[in-house]
Each structure stands twice: as C-alpha cells, then as structure tokens.
C-alpha cells in the first residue's frame, strides 16, 4: 500500500506538523509519496525536515517535486534536490539553476562527523558578516556568537543523534509575523535517537515518575542535563539559549512527541513554551530565529 502525504503550500516548523500528523500513524515500511507539487514556499526547517523524514522511513519514499518553477528553482539553489535525490525517488521536473541565492547563508548541508561542523563554520563565517550586520542591522559582535551557536547545534547531531542530519541557514522577510521584519534562521534536523533516548542511555539513568519527551527536553534545554557524566557536558545548548536571549531571538527544539521553545523577550512571537502530545517524529529538529534590529 502507498499513502500520499500532502505537503502544505507553506512549509515551515508549524505547518510541518500537518505532514507528521499524516506520516506518524503509518508503519515504517509503508511506501509513502510526499507530495510537494503545490508548495509555494519552504523554510530551512521545512527543507531539512523533509530530508530527515525520508531518512526515517524503512521504504524509500517518492517525492513529487514542486510544480512552480520559482519554487523548484529555489529548492535547487538550496541544494535540497542534491540530497533529496539520494533519499527519495524524485518525480517531476527539477528546475536546475546555477544562480546564487544571496539570502542563503548556508545551503542544505549534511552533518555526520566533526569535520562537517568545521566546514560549516568556515563557510558561514565568510557569508554571515554581511547578512547579519548589513541586512539585519545587528551589531558586529553577533557574527562570532551566531557561528558558535550554529557549531553547537550541529555538534548535537554528531554527538547524540547516532546518525547523520542536516543544517541550513537563510535570511528572509517574515511577512505575516514581525510586520515584515527580516530574520535569519538556522534549522538543524536529524532522525536519530532524540533527546529522551539520549538521556536514557546515561550510566545509572533512573526514570522519573513523569518521564517523556517533554521532560527530556526540559532537562536538557533548561537544566543542561546530558547523557555524559562529565560535568563539562551540556554547555552547548545553554550557550545557544544565552545567545538567543541576548539577541531577542527564539530557540525551538522538537524531539519525539514534544517541542520546547525559548521565547523572545520582545512580543514578536506568541508560541507556547512547551507543546506535548504531538505526532511522533524521531530525532531532533532545532530552529533558531534571530530578528532584524529595528531602531
């Protein structure tokens, strides 16, 4: 049996839940067709999560590519199809392009080992300064901090996921929220073991009375817990939390059936700090959003 998964027109962190609501009930070995034909836009989160979705399936899925040329062309410029071709059976015309996309700070990039993190850091440093300082009016100090945060969230894949994942970084104008302000977004997705299973693998781990994905996210993100006994561990996400706090940004991490969000001090986002009982998706999907500074 084959099931068609309808992808919403606008594919980002929230609307991706509609995809997961359709996929989660299906057996892993059931063939799925991910239908993006009517997609008009996808955030870095949407693109990286689509790749993680394919990785999570036992049976190679089919991807109906977007029909709109500008969408297909943009996904190409983001290197999405380059990776998707290895994970999906692509159906439809892929618009290839050699044009560069100035809003893309980092195309969809595979992360599976420490060297990949070095390459991502080297690459982003060259592009970040202009994008963050000139386009988003942020203080020059942000460039190094931004890269540090990117490095830490990528390392989470290498250290904890147990399998490879994806990262992408882009600036864009958020038309609905933020009243048209620009943002820079880092998205990292993997289909690995996720936060709960990672903590459960700690030596001497004892399950609490209430123990679920939401609790595991709270322990890790808010209290710096780690599966390692080394007290130096768990500092990466704490550093990322401080970074988003200092720049009025937002951090959200989804793992298993829960999503935690560190919300901005400003009023540009009205998300819930913790969402539970979501449709199951393996691994972890991280999104960091830093808004343009306005006078």
């Amino acid at each position: 049996m084959t099931t068609i998964i309808n992808v919403p027109h606008s594919l980002e962190d929230k609307s991706f839940e509609q995809v997961l609501d359709q996929v989660a009930p299906l057996p892993l070995d059931e063939k799925i067709i991910v239908d993006t034909r009517h997609a008009r836009w996808a955030s870095p989160y949407g693109l990286t999560a689509l790749l993680a979705l394919a990785q999570s399936r036992a049976e190679r899925p089919i991807l109906y590519v977007p029909e709109a040329e500008n969408v297909s062309s943009y996904w190409s410029r983001m290197d999405f199809f380059k990776h998707a071709a290895e994970l999906y059976e692509l159906q439809g015309r892929v618009k290839s392009t050699k044009a560069t996309e100035t809003s893309v700070l980092l195309e969809v990039t595979s992360i599976s080992k420490s060297d990949d993190v070095h390459e991502v850091v080297d690459k982003i440093q060259q592009r970040a300064q202009d994008a963050l300082v000139k386009n988003l009016n942020l203080d020059a100090k942000i460039t190094m901090r931004f890269t540090m945060a990117l490095s830490e969230v990528c390392q989470n894949i290498v250290e904890h996921a147990g399998r490879g994942g994806w990262v992408a970084v882009q600036t864009y104008t958020w038309r609905v929220r933020l009243g048209g302000r620009k943002v820079v977004v880092i998205a990292v997705a993997d289909p690995g073991i996720g936060f709960r299973q990672s903590l459960e693998s700690a030596p001497g781990f004892q399950r609490k009375e209430r123990w679920d994905d939401g609790q595991a996210l709270e322990e890790t993100v808010m209290r710096g817990a780690s599966r390692f006994r080394d007290p130096g561990r768990g500092q990466g996400l704490a550093g990322v939390r401080r970074f988003v706090g200092n720049w009025d940004g937002k951090l959200s991490i989804r793992s298993g059936t829960a999503r935690i969000a560190v919300l901005p001090k400003g009023d540009w986002d009205e998300d819930e700090p913790l969402l539970e009982d979501l449709s199951y998706f393996p691994g972890a999907q991280v999104q960091i959003t830093i808004p343009e500074r306005v006078a």
């Binding site: 070095h118 850091v121 100090k141 540090m148 290498v158 990466g236």
Partner: protein, 195 residues
C-alpha cells in the same frame, strides 16, 4: 622559564592544516593532547603562555576541552600534576564568552593578559582572594604580611589565602614570596621557575 604555546599552531599540527577555528570536542581534545605533550617537554615547573591570538572561533565544547580540562589537570587543589602556571593571551570578546562559561561550570579561574600588558583574573574566585591577588600583582612580589596590612585580615588568614591561590596556580611561590602569574611574564622576564 616562560614558554609560549600558540594554540592555532597546535590546531594545525594536531587536526588539520586548514582549520583556524576551535570547534567540536574531538578537535578540542586533540589540541589539548598536543599542548600536554608540549608541556611534558617543558619540564615539571614552568610558566606557560597559552596564546589564542590566531584562533578565529572558540565554541563552548572546545573551550571545555582545551581550557577547562587543561586547568583541571594542572590546577587541581588536591594533587596538582606538576607546578605549571598558565597565562592566557590573545583572548577576544567572543573567546571570553565561551571561556567564562566553562570556568563557571567547573568553578575554575585563570589569568588573562591583554595587549596593554594588563593582567586580569577571570572565573570563579571569592572577593577576598581576588583582592589578595590584586595586591600581590600591584606589588610585583609580596608575602602574607603585605596582604594582611592592606586588607586588615590576620596574617594567618592572609597566608592561607595566598597558599590557596598558589595551589590554584594563580600565584607563583618564589623565594618564600609570591608573584602574581600575569605580572611574572612582564615584570620578571628573567625569573627562572626551573631554577
């Protein structure tokens, strides 16, 4: 004897010729091992400048592997491996953010030295100990009596404080007196710790 370790060279030597950023734990661990080997060659008593001037980015994981774990090995109050003192140079504002986070996590302190020659104590240290360190630093060389006179604490307490700062390798014990680690690299360039 004052030794100089360029962290960027250690990175290129131990991990990859092309890298200039200190990111990821395996990278940090490899660089620390290289520094430790260098320290083994230097001897049991040494003042070493750890120079980050040519390092681009230092993330939290690398700061933990390089700075915190290095200090934990050489600056443990109970059983210091050897009498090795460190001064950290070339620390940028973003390096400092990562370093301060790991020092806080492990309750460690270190001395940084800046382009103007000024030395600063960074990390977790109580106010009285910080004051004692500053007094010795200003004096160049000092003893418990100097700290007692300047702060009003008893000589016994002042001696205990200086002893603790020495065990944390923030002061150098030298000829029955103390020298602040940062000032030793400027005011006493000819001082030989291996004498």
């Amino acid at each position: 004897m004052i030794n100089h370790i360029d962290v960027s060279s250690m990175l290129r030597k131990s991990v990859c010729e092309l890298y200039s950023n200190l990111v990821t734990r395996p990278t940090g661990a490899a660089v620390r091992c290289e520094i430790e080997q260098e320290l083994d060659r230097i001897g049991d008593r040494a003042l070493t400048v750890i120079d980050f001037s040519h390092v681009g980015l230092l993330d939290f994981s690398c700061a933990d592997e390089i700075v915190a774990k290095l200090l934990l090995q050489y600056v443990s109050i109970d059983a210091p491996r050897r009498e090795v003192y460190f001064v950290f140079r070339g620390i940028s504002e973003s390096h400092m953010e990562a370093i301060e986070a790991v020092l806080e996590r492990h309750r460690l302190a270190l001395v940084t030295q800046h382009a103007d020659g000024e030395s600063r104590l960074v990390g977790i240290i109580d106010l009285e100990e910080r004051r004692a360190w500053e007094i010795i630093s200003q004096l160049g060389t000092g003893v418990g009596a100097d700290v007692a006179d300047a702060t009003g604490v008893s000589r016994v307490d002042a001696e205990l404080m200086l002893d603790k700062l020495w065990r944390r390798r923030l002061l150098i014990r030298y000829d029955n007196a103390y020298v602040a680690v940062g000032s030793a690299t400027i005011s006493s360039p000819t001082m030989r710790l291996d004498a």
